[in-house]
Symmetry: C2
Subunit: 148 residues, 2 copies
DNA sequence: ATTGTTGCAAAGTGTTTGCACAAAC
DNA sequence: GTTTGTGCAAACACTTTGCAACAAT
């Protein structure tokens, strides 16, 4: 049942459902963005999304891409991550695949990682501060294996 | 001996020394920026720095502010933090005052916090990945006490 | 006198907005 | 037919760069 490459994975399916619930109509541009994101395991920038969609003959205007990503972020199905590269990246939120990022300061490569202890630490901080923590973002900077 | 409000704190002193060592001349604009940063315990944006300097009658051109901050960042005496607000913030690096940030998604407030367990977790990840980790940045998003 | 430093204005980059047209309902 | 979605171009915000004037050595 947890096969990774269904025609439409869990994420795209539940995203489309959420969109419908929220009263959105079905638009071709949004479908293309959702379908592209669905194939990703890590974060893409708006420009990368634009390029990838153009490459597969389903070009979507840049403004539409930003609008769609914002909607998906607000719905909570996409998370916008700012890795300190002067541009935002977006990735599908899959409940069981929470992760963080290593960013190479030389080549800009982005690598995902996850860590239980880190999550626990964040969780315990969330309880101790006078602040309603909704999410967190952890970025490790340095040099990847190739640039080192 | 660890009095917080010396005429010139440890940080400004060692920063000026590092600047001299690195062959920089003494410039008024840079001195003003260093002196302002020296008074901060948390991160300021370039625009905030510009405004604060103007308010104290030592206006510094915006381009100079960015250039100076970049130099200080490269020297390692300032750290550039990207809190996902479409702008960078800069704070003095004080070896014994490492901290991270809570960012209010409504009003933009930035609050510092630190946590031992978090640091330990990051440190242990650094050793386990195939990546030369040089630094890290942890941001907790949510709503501050006032906006909640 | 030489060379680093500064300020201004212009250019750049990623993102957002205004608006007219097309598509969904 | 009404309302939402989309694409284009223009506007925006933050940052960087080019260049001439200035200050430190």
């Amino acid at each position: 049942m947890a096969k990774a490459k269904e025609r439409e994975s869990q994420w795209a399916a539940s995203t489309n459902e959420r969109l419908a619930q929220a009263g959105f109509r079905r638009g071709g541009a949004r479908a293309a963005v959702v379908s592209l994101l669905d194939e990703q395991s890590c974060a893409l920038s708006a420009y990368e999304i634009e390029g990838l969609l153009a490459a597969r003959e389903r070009a979507v205007g840049r403004a539409s891409i930003y609008r769609i990503l914002e909607q998906l972020d607000e719905l909570g199905v996409v998370s916008k991550v700012e890795l300190g590269q002067a541009q935002a990246r977006y990735e599908p939120v899959r409940p069981d695949h929470h992760h963080h990022h290593l960013v190479c300061d030389k080549c800009g490569a982005v690598i995902a990682f996850d860590d239980e202890a880190l999550e626990r630490a964040v969780h315990s901080i969330s309880k101790r501060v006078d602040f309603a923590v909704e999410g967190h973002e952890i970025v490790l900077h340095g040099f990847c294996a190739e640039c080192r």
